[in-house]
C-alpha cells in the first residue's frame, strides 16, 4: 500500500466478488489494490464458506449434467423472489454464468466432477473442489502472480468524495490510519448481516437471537457510506437469506455445518411446544430457506425439531449431537418445555397421521388429516423411543438491502447525480436480482458476473 500512488482501481473487500473484479481489472491493464478487512487466515468473507455456483448450460458440460437453460433458471428465480428482481440484470447474470467456468478455471478455480453423496445438484450447480476457501485460495494465488496488491487487516472506514466523484479511502491497518487514492472504486464488501445493531433496527429485539453463518467482517459499513452519499437502494433491511440452524452454533462463522437437515422428517415446535408450520410442505432443500424466518417469528426465536428412532440416520448427519431421551416427558425436561404441552402436541399429531407409503425421495402420501397446521408429506407417528431433538435458531446467510446498480455495475445515485467512478459487486448489490427468497448457488453467480463486469468497467474508466 503506497500513500503516494494513485491506483487505477481500489477494491474494498476480499471475497469472491472482490477477487473477480481485481483479476479482471488487472487483466485489462489497470493497477489494482485490494483491501480486505480480515486477517489472512480469514480472508474471503462469506465466499470462503460456499460450495457451489449455479450455471446455465444448454448441454452437458464438463462438471454439469443434462441441461439448464436460461428460461428454466429464470423461472426458478422468479418463483423464489416472487417478482422482487430486475429481469434485465437477472437475465444478464443467468446468461453470463454459462461462460464463467473457463475463466474461473484459468484463474485458479477447480471444480469437482459430478457429485455422489447426499446432495444431488450437479445438474444446476457446479461444485468447487474443496469448497469456497479452496476457490479463493486459487484466486488469491492468481492475483498475487498478476501483481495485484493485497492488504489484509485493512478495514476501509471512510470514503472521500470530491467534486461529485470518489477520490480516496481511509483505511485502518494494524492500528494505523492511512489514505489510499484511486481513480475508481469497486465496493465488494458484502452485506450487513454481521452488524447486529443494523439487524436490530429492522427486526427489533429478535435480532439479538440471530446467529450469523458467515464472516464477522461483513458489517455493512461501506453500504452505509454509499447510502450516505445518496446511493439508491434496493430490497429492504428485513430481507435476507435466513435458514434454521442448530441453536448451539457459534454466533459468527459457523458456516455450512450448523444446518439441521431433518425438519421434514419430524415435527417442529416452538417454546410453547406448539407446531407452527407444515414441516412436510416440500423437499427440504426447497423449503430450507423459509425456516429461518419462521423461527425468527416464534417467541424467543427458538424452535425444536423432534424425531424418533425411526427417522434417525435418514438425513445428513449434523455436527451437533441430538438431545436424546427415553420418553417425551424426559425430552421436554431436557428442552425446558412444558411436558404436558409437548405430549399433547405429539398425541394430536400422531392421531392425525394417516397410513401411507413413506418415501423421503418423493412427495409421498404420508400426511395428516384434520390437523392445524397439517403435515402434508412424510408424516410418520412419533412413537418409537428414544426420542431426539435439535434446537433451531435463525441463521443469517446474507442480507439483501443493497445499492442499485446498472448493467455496467455502476452504482446509481439519487437525483441522477453523476458519480461516474463507483462500482459495486456481490452481496452489496445482490438485492437487485435477489430481492427476496433464495436459490442455491446464486450468491456466487451474482458475485462472479458482477465482479468481472465491475473490474472491467472500472479499469476502462480509469484509463479514459
Amino acid at each position: 500500500m503506497d500513500p503516494n500512488q494513485l491506483y487505477d482501481v481500489l477494491i474494498v473487500g476480499g471475497g469472491n466478488a472482490a477477487l473477480c473484479a481485481a483479476i479482471t481489472a488487472r487483466q485489462a491493464g489497470a493497477s489494482v489494490i485490494v483491501l480486505e478487512a480480515a486477517p489472512k487466515h480469514f480472508r474471503g468473507g462469506n465466499s470462503r464458506h460456499t460450495r457451489n455456483f449455479r450455471c446455465m448450460h444448454d448441454a452437458p458440460a464438463d462438471v454439469l449434467t443434462d441441461s439448464y437453460g436460461e428460461n428454466e433458471y429464470w423461472e426458478d428465480l422468479l418463483k423464489v423472489t416472487a417478482g422482487h428482481t430486475d429481469e434485465k440484470l437477472a437475465r444478464m447474470v443467468i446468461r453470463q454464468t454459462s461462460e464463467c467456468r473457463p475463466w474461473m478455471r484459468a484463474h485458479g478455480a477447480r471444480f469437482q466432477p459430478s457429485l455422489g453423496g447426499t446432495l444431488h445438484l450437479s445438474r444446476t450447480n457446479a461444485f468447487f473442489l474443496g469448497g469456497g476457501k479452496a476457490l479463493l485460495n486459487g484466486y488469491y494465488r492468481a492475483a498475487e502472480r498478476m501483481g495485484i496488491e493485497i492488504e489484509y487487516n485493512a478495514e476501509v472506514n471512510e470514503l472521500n468524495f470530491r467534486d461529485g466523484r470518489f477520490h480516496s479511502a481511509v483505511v485502518v491497518r494494524k492500528g494505523f490510519t492511512e489514505v489510499v487514492r484511486a481513480k475508481t472504486l469497486v465496493a465488494a464488501a458484502g452485506g450487513f448481516q454481521a452488524n447486529i445493531e443494523w439487524l436490530r433496527s429492522a427486526w427489533g429485539e429478535a435480532a439479538n437471537n440471530f446467529l450469523i453463518r458467515g464472516t464477522p467482517y461483513d458489517n455493512g459499513h461501506i453500504l452505509r457510506l454509499l447510502m450516505n452519499q445518496g446511493a439508491r437502494t434496493v430490497s429492504d433491511p428485513t430481507q435476507c437469506h435466513c435458514v434454521a440452524i442448530d441453536a448451539r452454533a457459534p454466533r459468527f462463522d459457523g458456516g455450512i455445518i450448523t444446518r439441521v437437515d431433518c425438519v421434514s422428517l419430524g415435527i417442529t415446535v416452538n417454546q410453547h411446544a406448539q407446531r407452527f408450520y407444515d414441516e412436510g410442505e416440500d423437499f427440504w432443500p426447497k423449503r430450507y430457506a423459509i425456516w429461518g424466518r419462521l423461527v425468527a417469528q416464534q417467541p424467543g426465536q427458538i424452535a425444536y425439531t423432534i424425531i424418533d428412532s425411526q427417522a434417525m440416520g435418514g438425513f445428513m448427519p449434523p455436527v451437533f449431537p441430538p438431545i436424546q431421551a427415553r420418553s417425551l416427558r424426559e425430552l421436554a425436561d431436557a428442552l425446558k418445555l412444558d411436558p404436558q404441552a409437548l405430549e399433547r402436541t405429539v398425541a394430536e399429531y400422531n392421531a392425525a397421521v394417516r397410513p401411507g407409503k413413506f418415501d423421503h425421495a418423493i412427495l409421498d402420501n404420508c400426511s395428516t388429516e384434520d390437523l392445524q397446521p397439517a403435515k402434508s408429506h412424510w408424516a410418520l407417528r412419533i412413537e418409537r423411543p428414544p426420542y431426539y431433538a435439535y434446537p433451531l435458531r435463525p441463521g443469517i446467510t446474507f442480507t439483501y438491502l443493497g445499492v442499485a446498480v446498472n448493467e455496467r455495475a455502476e452504482v446509481c445515485f439519487e437525483e441522477n447525480r453523476k458519480l461516474d467512478n463507483v462500482f459495486a459487486a456481490g452481496e452489496i448489490m445482490a438485492g437487485n436480482i435477489l430481492g427476496k427468497g433464495y436459490l442455491a448457488g446464486l450468491g456466487m453467480a451474482i458475485g462472479t458476473v458482477f465482479g468481472r463486469i465491475a473490474g472491467e468497467e472500472a479499469a476502462r474508466r480509469a484509463h479514459a
Binding site: H41, G130, A134, I257
Partner: protein
C-alpha cells in the same frame, strides 16, 4: 470427523471423505481405517474454512498423522519393539549403523586381509571371495523371513482391528484395485492438479519423487531377484557385466533411489510447519536416508568393484542393505503395508451397498 461429515466440501480430494460419508459414527476402527487411507497431501487443511485459528480447529492431516503414528507402533511385531517408533530417529539410526559395522568386523575377521583389501577382477564370484555366498544367503534369508513375519503379523492384527475377516483381505478384485491405486498414487493428485505439498500451491512434486523412490525400490528388488535366478538356476555368479539385466535394473532403480529420497527429504524440509507431524520426522528421514545410502553404496560398489576398496565398500553396502531390512518393520516403510490394506478395504467398501436408511423405514 463429525464436522467433516456434516461439511463434505473436501469429498473430491481423496478416498478419505467418501469413506467418511459411508459411516455415521466414528469408532476407533473407523479412525484407524481413515487415517491409513489418508496420503497426507495437505489439500483438505488449506481448503478448510474451519482450520485453526477458527474455533473449530479442524486439522485433518495432523489428526490423521497422529493416528497413523499410533497405528505403526501399536501393530509393530514383536510387541517389545513398539518403543522403536517412539524414539524412532535415534533407534533406527543406531540400528542402521550397527549393521554395516558388524559386517565390516565379520568380513575382516573371516576373509584374509589380502582378500578383503585386495583388488579384484570382475570375475565370477569375486564378491564371494570376500563374503562366502552361503553366508550371504543365510544372513539375508534370515533377515528376509524375519521382516516378512513382522509385516504379516502387523498386517493381520491391523486387518482384524478394522473389523474385517481375513478372507476379504484376499479378495481378488479389491486387491487389484488397491494395487492400481497404490502404484499410481491415485489419491495423491489433489483431484487433478497435484496436491498441496509442501505448501498451499498444488504441485505434483511429491507424487513424482514418491514414484521415483517407489519404482526405484522395485527395480532394485527386481535386479536382486534376477541375480538370484542367475546364480541359483543358471549358475552365473556375480558380479555381472555392466550391461547385464541385474546391473541395468539396479542402475535404473538406483538412480530413482538417489533422486526420489532426496526430493522427498527436500519437500519435507520445505513443508509448511503448520501441517507437519514433527514427531514422525525421525522415522521418515531415517528411512529416506537408508534408501539413499543403499543406492549410493551400490553405485560405489559398481565403480570401485575392481579396486582394492571393493571389500570395504561391499561390506558397507551389504551392511546398509541389512540395516534397511532390519529397520523396515519399525520405520516409515510400514506405511506401504497399512495404506495398501486400507485401499483394499476402500475398494471393498465401494462395492458394498450403502446403508442409507432413507426410504427404508
Amino acid at each position: 470427523m463429525r464436522i467433516c461429515n456434516a461439511c463434505r466440501y473436501c469429498e473430491g480430494f481423496c478416498a478419505v471423505f467418501p469413506a467418511m460419508e459411508r459411516r455415521m459414527e466414528f469408532g476407533e476402527k473407523d479412525l484407524l481405517y481413515l487415517a491409513n487411507l489418508c496420503h497426507d497431501c495437505g489439500e483438505c487443511y488449506y481448503s478448510c474454512q474451519y482450520a485453526p485459528p477458527h474455533e473449530f480447529a479442524v486439522h485433518i492431516p495432523q489428526t490423521m498423522a497422529e493416528i497413523r503414528r499410533q497405528t505403526y507402533s501399536e501393530y509393530a511385531w514383536p510387541g517389545a519393539l513398539k518403543g522403536l517408533f517412539a524414539h524412532n530417529g535415534l533407534a533406527l539410526a543406531l540400528g542402521a549403523l550397527i549393521a554395516p559395522l558388524l559386517f565390516m568386523t565379520y568380513l575382516y575377521a573371516v576373509a584374509a586381509p589380502g582378500v578383503f583389501f585386495g583388488a579384484h577382477a570382475v570375475a565370477d564370484g569375486a564378491f564371494y571371495r570376500v563374503m562366502p555366498h552361503g553366508a550371504m544367503i543365510a544372513v539375508f534369508l534370515l533377515l528376509g523371513i524375519g521382516v516378512a513375519v513382522a509385516f504379516a503379523a502387523g498386517l493381520w492384527r491391523f486387518w482384524r482391528d478394522l473389523g474385517e475377516p481375513l478372507a476379504t483381505l484376499f479378495d481378488g478384485k479389491a486387491m487389484q484395485q488397491a494395487i492400481v491405486d497404490a502404484m499410481t498414487l491415485r489419491y495423491l493428485d489433489g483431484g487433478g492438479e497435484g496436491c498441496a505439498y509442501p505448501d498451499e500451491v498444488p504441485s505434483t512434486a511429491r507424487r513424482t519423487f514418491h514414484h521415483l523412490t517407489f519404482y526405484g525400490f522395485l527395480f532394485c528388488f527386481a535386479a536382486t531377484s534376477v541375480a538370484a535366478v542367475y546364480h541359483n538356476l543358471l549358475g552365473w555368479q556375480a558380479p555381472y557385466a555392466l550391461l547385464s539385466v541385474p546391473v541395468v535394473f539396479g542402475t535404473i532403480g538406483g538412480i530413482g533411489l538417489l533422486i526420489g529420497p532426496v526430493g522427498l527429504m527436500w519437500l519435507k524440509i520445505a513443508r509448511d510447519p503448520e501441517t507437519q507431524d514433527r514427531k514422525q520426522s525421525g522415522m521418515d528421514t531415517t528411512f529416506l536416508a537408508m534408501l539413499f545410502l543403499t543406492s549410493l553404496t551400490g553405485f560405489l560398489l559398481l565403480i570401485l568393484r575392481e579396486s582394492s576398496a571393493m571389500g570395504v565398500v561391499l561390506a558397507i553396502h551389504l551392511g546398509i542393505v541389512a540395516g534397511l531390512f532390519i529397520t523396515m518393520p519399525y520405520g516409515k516403510f510400514v506405511h506401504a503395508i497399512y495404506r495398501s490394506a486400507a485401499l483394499v478395504l476402500n475398494a471393498l467398501e465401494k462395492r458394498r451397498p450403502v446403508k442409507l436408511p432413507v426410504g427404508e423405514i
